[in-house]
Symmetry: C2
Subunit: 326 residues, 2 copies
Amino acid sequence: MVVERKDLFVGGIEAGGTKFVCAVGRAPEDVCRPENRTEFPTGDNPGQLISRVIDWFAEKQSREPLSAIGIASFGPVDLEKGSPRYGHITSTPKPGWANTDLVGPIQRGLGNIPVGFDTDVNGAGLGEYFWGNASGLEDFVYITIGTGIGAGGMARGQLLHGLVHPEMGHLRLPRVAGDEFPGVCPYHKDCWEGLCSGPAILKRAGTPAEKIPPDHPAWKYETQYIGYAIANIVCTLSPRRVIIGGSVRKAGQLGEEAFFHAVREHVQTTLNNYVVSPSLLGDGVHRYIVPPLLGDNAGVCGALALGQLECSIAEECREKVQLINY
Amino acid sequence: MVVERKDLFVGGIEAGGTKFVCAVGRAPEDVCRPENRTEFPTGDNPGQLISRVIDWFAEKQSREPLSAIGIASFGPVDLEKGSPRYGHITSTPKPGWANTDLVGPIQRGLGNIPVGFDTDVNGAGLGEYFWGNASGLEDFVYITIGTGIGAGGMARGQLLHGLVHPEMGHLRLPRVAGDEFPGVCPYHKDCWEGLCSGPAILKRAGTPAEKIPPDHPAWKYETQYIGYAIANIVCTLSPRRVIIGGSVRKAGQLGEEAFFHAVREHVQTTLNNYVVSPSLLGDGVHRYIVPPLLGDNAGVCGALALGQLECSIAEECREKVQLINY
């Protein structure tokens, strides 16, 4: 179970493929204040960007000491403590960024404070666990659907890691009858991301998501495939809640409410009452599949949460060592 | 992380839909001895069967005290400690067995010893974690393909639970081009179980798995769909190993080796090098997708392991209480 230290003053970095959002604070309300946050374009020169990030936090640190930094990063990343590449972005096709050490230089640059590091989606999930719609739930999934599709979350109170980390955007799904769209994933063509990411919608409909009319078939396919994917996630992980963040869920002219309504209906139709739980039957599903409570701040709040979690882990280790020495 | 107490003398019940396998012992070698095990047909009268099970263990208990009993059960089951139906088989269509309390009467009938309770597949997975091919791995999946398809295992050292428990047999998969077989799942038709369980093979080929010639297209479909399903599980849970048990993997005239070879190849083709890990690339996959080391005893050994695990949990609680009282 995650020991919560939600009171600590920490830094957070939402390290995205487009921009790095940096913030300091104790809680979601802090990151809303402009003086507590900034953004840098990700660009193709990690060394330069990391220097700018360190400078920004060092200035904050000079006013009030930071207990830790949390980094919620785009991936793939190496999360295996003890691995020589722990804390690195690994095999990304993003120019300049393959094999980039994020944790090392940031930790050294800020006086060797604890650094929490995880995927962007595990980070956002942890933010929702600390302060949002996953509060009190030790098994949940946080999905983001935007430029790509990714998912993270917790199983039995632990963030989802493993051989590497989940890559749920690349789930293979049944094709909806009549849908001939080949998909856009460079690895798999018609995996979930290949069929449902923002770029997939743009390619399918010839227009960005926000401009697609509500009755356009693109929305039917989009919500049906998301329904298949969530049903598969339910069968594999048995989460207690599924949170969908990212830009696509806002669904332009269709609207967020109608989008969630359609997704929930498709999940129920797909599972066909097989998984018996009040959360999945009837109206229960309205509280089961939900948007993030932290909205567009889920990512950067999650980074703060990763920092606070790292402090708890460090503290727990110290306590154990004291116990042994005692 | 699971605290291991592999030295305790315990009872184990592999509660299957066809038979209940009961055993006592400390380790896999014990359950091979005929005097340490027995089997009862499951039938449609749970009360009667449970009495026979209690009598058998009571006789064993009179010779050497059992530290605990573990029950690895067919499902769906209620695993939520604190739920009024904890320890029950819940909504099974199996005649006589819906809403059957397994843990309560067995615990009371054997002097209120600790009872560990989990799904058959989490049990078998725990057995492989204690004594088999999941040894030392805190993230793995154990799949059984036989009369049905189910899967369990661990995420970060904890058995997979959640809203209910995984039901991976009901994953939805892309259809292989040219395959028109409608599937046999009464809930979903062509989910994984509907396409690949023993009864599905029988229906598809018109003959049981063990009699299908090695070059029959049924094997191509079987291994391809299993490949899709495992690829989806890899993307969702990121296990460090995948163990396939159950009868279908023996693959009759095709043979177990050729079956695993084809499945591994399909998993690699499906993932297409997207998940970068030595376990999934090249020959690494031969150690990644494997049969259970405990073979057909994985289930009953897993039940013993569940009993031993329950003792560890009980002990840990006692220690915590002592610490508080101190």
